[in-house]
Amino acid sequence: MIQLSINGSSHQLEIDPQMPLLWAIRDSVGLTGTKYGCGMALCGACTVHLDGKAVRACVTPVAEAEGKQITTIEGLDSRVASAVQSAWENREVVQCGYCQSGQIMSAVALLSVKPQPSEQDIDTAMSGNICRCHTYVRIRAAIREAARSLDD
């Protein structure tokens, strides 16, 4: 029996302790905002927060997530998250949208620890998240906009 705390709710799951957190979130709990993209922590589409830190759910065994607060895109609820999501909308970042949950989770994690990131900070924090529509220019702009709004 695995016990996971996801977005503030507790889930008792009869699953393989080695099951990656991604599939527990998607298939066992049924939250589909977190996406599968590569299964090897190469693309960032599955990014979630473990105790506020961005992790790749596709390579994180559920056993490692026990006892920690797991936050998915559905559970974002902070001033930083709201600034990021508003900026994403204002800047019309999304195209196909499949990677964007992961992008947003990485951006929120960045701004939560570094509210005024440098361009280098942005590139470093976001370089693990691939976007094949290449929305990168707007991702940068949205993060800068969110940072500005958090500074107000």
Binding site: I15, D16, M19, P20, W23, R26, D27, S28, G30, L31, T32, G33, T34, K35, Y36, G37, C38, G39, M40, L42, C43, A45, T72, I73, E74, L76, Q85, W88, E89, E92, V93, V94, Q95, C96, G97, Y98, C99, Q100, S101, I104, I122, D123, T124, M126, S127, G128, N129, I130, C131, R132, C133, H134, T135, Y136, V137, R138, I139, R140
Partner: protein, 700 residues
Amino acid sequence: MRQDGSVVISRRQFLLRSASVGAGLTLAVYLPACSREQEQPEAGPGKAGGENIATTRFEANAFVRIAADNRVTVIIKHLEMGQGTYTGLATLVAEELDAAWSQIHVEGAPANAKLYNNLFWGAVQGTGGSTAIANSFEQMRKAGAAARHMLVDAAAKKWSVPAIEIKVRDGVLRHESTGQQATFGDLADLAAAEPVPQEVFLKEVDEFRLIGTHVPRKDSGAKIDGTAIFTQDIKLPGLLTALVAHPPRFGARVESFDAGEAKKIEGVTDVVEIPSGVAVLARDFWSARKGRDALQVSWDENKAFKLGSDELMTQYKKLAASPGLSALSQGDAASALQAADTSLEASFEFPFLAHAAMEPMNCVMNLTRDGCEVWNGEQYQTPDQNAVARVLGILPEQVKINMLYAGGSFGRRANPQSDYLVETAHIVKAIGAKAPVKLVWTREDDMRAGYYRPMYFHQLKAGLDDSGAPIAWQHRIVGQSLMTGTDFEGVLVKDGVDVTSVEGASNMPYAIPNIAVELHSPDTAVPVQWWRSVGSTHTAFAVETFIDQLAVVAGKDPLEFRRSLLSDHPRHLGVLELAADKAGWGGTLPAGRGRGIAVHESFNSFVAEVAEVTVHDNKTFSVDRVVIAVDCGIAVNPDIIRAQMEGGMGFGLSAALSSEITLQEGRVVQSNFHDYQVLRIDQMPSVEVHIVKSVQPPTG
């Protein structure tokens, strides 16, 4: 994939006529009505919309529904895969309907080619070839205008006033002198009783209120809060997840398999052989994955393709030494090359490329006594209905398709063989349709399943006269045909020449008196498919790079050199000048930094780019800034066009810098993003996009 010439002409005539008429243009309405036999889409898992069916009062035609609550639903016949078509097509309707943008909702159309065919593809419903806006521009505006006409007629009757005195703005109808007004919702019941107009007025370009402005994307919110539903996200009662063990080489088959260990994995329900491999089904992805890992398969590789890409390229180079089929012959290139004062040769090798959309291919299918229901990022409805029906022994119209958002495609989801849908149908059939099935390809499956942008070899020769002007141009291209064997072969393969292999080369714009463009189309067993801008993905690079090399030999500035050869091509020149101007062409740059320029036409859109590139001390280089000018006719949504330019540039840069699929002894070497490198944010240049103002019909 290419738009039909007659349609283009009619659009040009349309604009000519509209320019001469002044106060709007009467156009006959040939809109399909909403089919009464067609089952209405109901709300349910993954439906793009459907929530207002119960309150719908007025279905003006197959594209517009107006509900009593004032909600206008626009039915979109094209796949939203990021390019913004849900927003663009809805804008066209809203414009002529004079609706408020906030009251517009969008819904993916069902598969029904009678109502929702791509007007450039005859009787085929599908999305591709940059046709979505171009083929729908008039159709969707007429759909909006027809609905508006019926609303106005209803108001005129109700208020006993002349229809011509009624103004419509932001979803409200008004009669000023009597002070009466009503919303669309108020009039929906009455409008439904009005006859469909035989002709409608469409707005003049200068009357547009939404077209040409930045209206927000309709798919943004759901893609930002995680609620957007992709194929991967579909849940159905009893749904089984299927992973397939595919053969290690193209053309190999299953010889035998041992499912013993796989079936011991908890959650695994079935292991079945299908034509494309062995499918492992389980109650969830992780169980299916473990099951497939435990599966033992022996493959019959006798007839498999066993060459490597190096060997293929050697063959291609040999072929390039002999003349190919002529794609364009103008003057006498061979003699002119002999006579030239200076000559130059260059060759280019292009690798196979995977589409590598962020959402690997997947498909959900449920077969019942009533037919087959499909959930898919559906790009190619009509061929997919036919292919799935053939496997299942049912009629194509019994294949009901729910078109969901696609997590990227770049052409991949319009597969000429409907490959992953056919695979899903075989799995459903093999388990006796006992449960709905979700086929999931892992990233590795997706990358190794083929249907790549073909590998190409280009050989170019050119000759300059003593003034440095080019007088001869010979371009030989070697690479697999995309269209042979597809539904488009009849139209796009002419005398053995696949026009998509040479597009961008055979219509190269530069004024050179002697030109020969030739093609070899060797057949190999590696499955290939259109990939983003199709032929231009390789021809533009080869032509533009070689033109630069000629400019260097001629001792001319690359912008000036192009300009001197483009006097008959005003739209090429227009974007070239704009990009050069905005980029500050000729201005000084820091040490180590230089500029390059290129111009290209693809799908009747014209694009020029100026790139600033820095060569670093360690001999690496980075692309730091790209200035883009685009002329795609009327810019329906300038911000989405900018986004497409930014993204398209990044996609091209990704391929140019790092992506490559290679084969060794027939096996695909790459498997995931560690060895199939794609552009990441730290490699993305800053981008500026400038759009040429135009009254030409929108292109793609």
